[in-house]
Symmetry: C3
Subunit: 158 residues, 3 copies
C-alpha cells in the first residue's frame, strides 16, 4: 500500500477499497486527459456482488442509500488507483460528482443520499475533497442498483 493521504484516511476510517471491477463493454473506468480524470459511472458493487439494489425511499432507507453512495465512491477510488498504477497521491482534488439515485416519484432526499459519497471524499481528501455536485432522482438504473455516481478529478501530471 502506498502512503497516499487517501489510503491513510481509509485505514483510519476502517474502510477497504473494493476490487476494481472491469467494465463489460467497450468503455473504460477512467480516462485521463491533461490533468483531468473522467471516471465512469460506478455502482455499489463489492468484489463482484451488488450490495444495494432497489429504490431508495421504497425498498431501501435513506441510510442504506447513503451506504450505497459511499460504496460507489470507494469504487471510484479503486478505479483511480488502478488507472494511476497505484499512485493515489496523484489525485489532487475531487472536482465534480454526478449522483443518480434510483427512487420512486415523490422522493425528495437525493441530497441526503448523495452525502454518503460527498462525506467520503472529504474524509479522504480534506478540503481537496470538497467538490461541486449534482444529485437527481431517476426511475431506473443498471442492474437495479440504488445509486450510480460518476465524477471528474484533478490529477497531477506524472
Amino acid at each position: 500500500m502506498s502512503d497516499s493521504l487517501i489510503e491513510k484516511n481509509l485505514l483510519r476510517l476502517g474502510l477497504e477499497l473494493p476490487k476494481a471491477a472491469a467494465p463489460v463493454a467497450n468503455y473504460v473506468p477512467v480516462v485521463i486527459s491533461g490533468n483531468c480524470a473522467y471516471v465512469a459511472g460506478q455502482i455499489p458493487i463489492s468484489n463482484g456482488e451488488i450490495k444495494f439494489s432497489g429504490k431508495v425511499g421504497k425498498d431501501l432507507t435513506i441510510e442504506q442509500g447513503q451506504q450505497a453512495a459511499r460504496l460507489c465512491g470507494l469504487n471510484m477510488v479503486a478505479q483511480l488507483k488502478l488507472a494511476l498504477a497505484g499512485k493515489l497521491n496523484r489525485v489532487v482534488r475531487c472536482l465534480k460528482l454526478g449522483v443518480f439515485v434510483q427512487c420512486p416519484d415523490g422522493f425528495a432526499d437525493q441530497p441526503k443520499v448523495a452525502n454518503g459519497v460527498s462525506d467520503l471524499m472529504v474524509a479522504m481528501l480534506g478540503d481537496a475533497g470538497k467538490h461541486a455536485r449534482s444529485a437527481v432522482g431517476v426511475n431506473a438504473l443498471p442492474l437495479n442498483v440504488a445509486v450510480e455516481v460518476d465524477g471528474f478529478f484533478e490529477i497531477s501530471v506524472s
Copy 2:
C-alpha cells in the same frame, strides 16, 4: 456592483441575482480547476425559499418550468460571483449546461423548459452564452423542485 457584462445585462433585463445559497453538505457550489469552473446543480430557490416545486407538465406549466430554469441559472451566476470574489467579468463563456426537468411519463418538452436558462445565458453573455446542453426528464428531484441545472464555465485565470 462591478460593471461586468453579465451585471449590465441583468440590470437591463430587470433581473436580480438571488442570494447565493450555502450547500448543506460536504460539497461546494463552485470548483475552479485551471480555466474551468464546475458549478454544482442549482435549484429554483430565491433567498431561502423554493419557488417552483412539483412536476412540469402536471403541477406546473411549461412557462412556469421555464421560469424555474431561469431561476436556476440566476443561482448559478450568484454562485459564480461569490466564488470569483465578485468579479463576474472573469466568466469568459458558458460551456455546457445539464438540465434535469422533474416531469411525468410522456412529457416531451424538456427543450422548451431548458430554454429558460439557455436564453438567460445568451441575454447575459451574448455569443459567449451559447453553450452545449443536455436536457432530460427525471421522475424525482431534491426537495421536489421542478428543475435542476448544473454547468461548466470557462473562466479567465485571475
Copy 3:
C-alpha cells in the same frame, strides 16, 4: 470527404453520417474550449426525422435501443465534423459519454443499450474510442426519444 480515421471506418462499416441538425434554441451543438469539445445531448434523428421513439424495454427492444444509441453517436460525429470545419482528424479521443435511456421502472439493461454508442466509438477510433461512461434510465426524454447521449471529446488544437 476527408480521409480521417473516423470516416475511413464509417465507410468500412457502411455507416453514413446524418445531416447535422441545427438546435432550435439558444444553444449550440458543440463548444470547444482548449482541447476539450463539449457536445450537446444528441437524439436518434436522421435527416430531420426521429427514428426511435418510446421506452426501451416496453415499446422498443434492447436491440432497437442499441440502434438508437448508435444513431445518437453518429449525430455526435456529424456535429463535431461541422464544428471542426470538416476536419474530423482533429478528434483525438472520446473522453466521456453520458447515456440517458428512456425506459419503464424496473428496466435494468441500460448498459446493453449504451453499448450501441460505445461500440461505435471504438469501431471509429480504435483504442482512442475507449471512453468513460455513465448510463442511467429516465422516465421521459425530449420528443419522446428512446435515448439521448452527450459527451466530451479531446481535440487537437488546430
